[in-house]
């Protein structure tokens, strides 16, 4: 067994930015997310309660966004591109690092900019494994960066 060897084709994709994705944070989407997670904080689900809170509106739980797919980004298309350049076909989510910089609430319009930050070869219990880190930066309609996320993926 050996570490995965990063091909030249893959190396060329490091640092490449994907076209930005624009999306609106919808109140109903926040409510459904909080319900699916079982987060009972009324700030995320109770419209009336939230209207009287210090934020004056339904706010997203941290981590409501930050997964490229939930921003409408076609993650699988990006991985198809990586696979064409030599990435193994197995794909698992390896982890996440969030840097929450400002709150996100219903009605916000966010721009997500996603890039391949790094690709490394490793050896794991799945065999030779490619470890990819995507960095996503989310900016709101006031031009403030609200969130920076690093997602790690394992191809094996």
């Amino acid at each position: 067994m050996a570490a995965f060897v990063v091909t030249d084709g893959l190396k060329q994709l490091i640092g490449q930015k994907e076209p930005p994705v624009v999306f609106k944070v919808e109140e109903g989407a926040i409510q459904r997310f909080a319900q699916a997670v079982g987060d009972k904080n009324p700030q995320h689900s109770d419209v009336e309660w939230a209207a009287n809170s210090k934020w004056g509106r339904v706010m997203a739980p941290p981590g409501f966004t930050g997964w490229p797919i939930s921003a409408g980004f076609n993650l699988f298309k990006l991985f198809e591109k990586l696979m064409k350049a030599g990435a193994p076909m197995g794909l698992l989510d390896g982890g996440v690092e969030y840097d929450f910089q400002a709150p996100i609430g219903a009605g916000d319009i966010l721009v997500a900019e996603i890039m391949v930050a790094s690709i490394e070869g490793r050896e794991t219990k799945m065999g030779p494994t490619m470890v990819t880190t995507l960095q996503s930066t989310y900016t709101n309609q006031r031009g403030a960066v609200v969130l920076v996320v690093r997602n790690t993926f394992l191809n094996f």
């Binding site: 997670v37 079982g38 981590g63 989510d93 969030y98 929450f100």
Partner: protein, 153 residues
């Protein structure tokens, strides 16, 4: 909601109030819809088997969202979650459904954590956090940094 916790209330080693969760196949479908993550790995038996994980597994993202929930419940409305990271070290399997609403018996997950550092300069606390299953396996582990309100300000 729980009472507001203050920076002065916690010490290095203080435990974060445990948050108990279960995951069912139905909840995974609900989470797929809410998050937009429709990877068949989380609901299709053959797909999961062919990928070598046995059967559909709990979304890493759902366990990560539980950890966010652990932290935000603990820090309360006046606390601010600044950073959170986690790694997935193993698979967790959802309970299957017995009726429309109720699952069969199976794993329960306990989201836990403790304070590892206090930073007096900015009233932030650093924490070690994890999700533990009924067998005591910590398949999702991470760290979080949160700002807590002060009693003196």
């Amino acid at each position: 909601m729980a009472k507001q916790i203050y920076y002065e209330d916690v010490q290095v080693g203080s435990e974060i109030t445990t948050l108990e969760k279960i995951a069912t196949t139905r909840m995974l479908v609900q989470y797929a819809g809410a998050s937009g993550d429709f990877n068949p790995l989380h609901y299709e038996e053959d797909f999961a088997k062919n990928l070598g994980v046995g059967r559909p597994i709990v979304h890493g993202l759902l366990k990560r969202a539980w950890l966010v929930n652990l932290m935000t419940d603990w820090i309360g409305g006046d606390g601010v979650l600044k950073k959170l990271s986690c790694r997935y070290r193993g698979m967790d399997y959802p309970r299957k459904m017995k009726t429309f609403d109720d699952p069969v018996d199976g794993d329960t997950w306990y989201c836990k954590g403790k304070v590892t550092k206090k930073n007096d300069a900015d009233n932030t606390v650093e924490c070690e956090i994890w999700v533990e299953n009924t067998k005591g396996e910590k398949n999702t582990t991470g760290t979080a940094t949160a700002l807590l309100p002060s009693k003196s300000k």
